[in-house]
Symmetry: none
Subunit: 348 residues, 2 copies
Amino acid sequence: MKGVRVVGSGLIGTSIALALSAKGIPVEMTDSDDGRAALAQDLVGSARIDQVDLVVLALPTSKLPQVISREFQLNPKAAFIDVGSVKTKPLHQIDSDLTVSRRFCGTHPMAGREIGGPEAARSDLFLGRPWIYTPTVNCDEDVLTLVAELIETLGATPIRMTPDEHDSAVALISHLPQISASLLAKQLRLGPEDWLALAGQGVKDTTRIAASDPKLWREIIAMNREQIRPLLIKMSEDLTNLISEFDDDDAIEQFIAEGRSGRERIPGKHGGRPRDYTYLPIVIEDKPGQLAALFRECADAQVNIEDLSIEHSPGQFTGLITLALSSSDALHLADHLAHRGWNVHSPR
Amino acid sequence: MKGVRVVGSGLIGTSIALALSAKGIPVEMTDSDDGRAALAQDLVGSARIDQVDLVVLALPTSKLPQVISREFQLNPKAAFIDVGSVKTKPLHQIDSDLTVSRRFCGTHPMAGREIGGPEAARSDLFLGRPWIYTPTVNCDEDVLTLVAELIETLGATPIRMTPDEHDSAVALISHLPQISASLLAKQLRLGPEDWLALAGQGVKDTTRIAASDPKLWREIIAMNREQIRPLLIKMSEDLTNLISEFDDDDAIEQFIAEGRSGRERIPGKHGGRPRDYTYLPIVIEDKPGQLAALFRECADAQVNIEDLSIEHSPGQFTGLITLALSSSDALHLADHLAHRGWNVHSPR
């Protein structure tokens, strides 16, 4: 990439620009709101651009067809991408102009925050996140190359999908959760303020994205209405069933268990299902060097640590390390550590 | 408090014990599972107990009446509290024995995690959190004094309520969110695995508590059924209305806005002292030995890791480790790692 023009200085556009600029790639920021563009450019830093070879359209999807024509006039040799949450409908609008559509590839970085604007931007927003791209058969080869380069430069993982598959997937894993969070948060209007003051992390997490912008979501939902509707109907049926069986404790337990099994489908490592790890709890003294010493023991014992967690309590001089291992590694390591005088507990 | 006996070595019981022990108050741990009690006592540390003046019953509410009789025989002069999520029904069972009920006060710390067991316990779990207590008119004055002392020792905020008001409040701010999260997570069973690999923070947060224990929630919901039912019916009606108006963009925007206004009713900084950590993101190759090497660097740099998280991208063999450190340690370690060729990002 020689130079990138970002049209739309919101959270996503500015975050992309920050990340590119950090890698030494010159970026120019624009926005329909001049003040926002100026703030974004200030955050990103200014640099001389000789040639724009990539234009990132980071703006409401409804404005895409109109803005892309104008931008195409300015930089007819550049590649164009959008970063919108819905892919099929906008594509139909762009496809009508074959010249433009050869230079365009739809993309969707799976990253965001519930707060918007250039102030909320961060260069590491895409780090380790999936970034979907949905090229059509018309798409020029050099456009695809630039898209891959952009995604990798930002530390994200490129995932190729058809526009239709993308829209079905995000209806389930993004749009339905938004509506569900809004539905729950709406119920919080029912209680007195004293009760809300008792809110814990559970209800806070469950309703966090309900703080999102209603105008933005009006548009996203309208663009993907036909993919979302059947999911809403299914969810409504499940809720009606729960209410009708609400005196049956077994049915309630079954319902909570089904939710848990759905939740478990969200992968941990390498995009696979959470594997069947054995967990080994070890109580350590909470001081520098203890973790390193423990990992040296793991290396000596030739076991592979799949995951780990650290729990420790301020004011306490102990901490708990839980290592996730294969069951054979867990047994072997437990034995090894016990012989070496570590405070290791039974694998579970 | 001279000595505290904690009956039930799960998350809440062990967290209370850790916090008391950190303040020098001797605690004895018990559990129907001996291994769990041993792990909990090891984490808490052992201390000689001359006199038990407070017994904390941190166990499933259904076991409360039976266990309290047994514990009352052992320590007839002690004060007894529970920490359960529902207050009215269990109270009716205990109230039948007036001698016990004078020594008992129901309480409910508004803190928890979606994972259970002594491994998940932490002494700061209650810091700045509301802790509801629901005394009856029978309750002895010295019991109330001990309850207040316990809550303050643990850094929580005491809030007095009637059992009925407590149960209505938690139905809205705790039980309804649990059911809503489970309902959404259940829908995640509908999509192929590839889609779930795209899951972002929104759906992860919205469904986090869906990982909770079905048996625990079977009991909580059964205990508070009549308070929860009307809320579920109202939520179901709102969902049905949304579906019937789903072609009306104004109605959708209104719905999302109502959710936002409900979310805004949750007070911002209530309780929860933010832990003052600085976060240091490090991108590593996801292969055996990398974590050990990283922790050796931390030991060389003599920094103390307060917490950490590991994020993997689907299908990629890189991972993002985020270390939580004091701000001075974070700056020092960032510098150290950068010099040693690690892919370390700016502390934040």
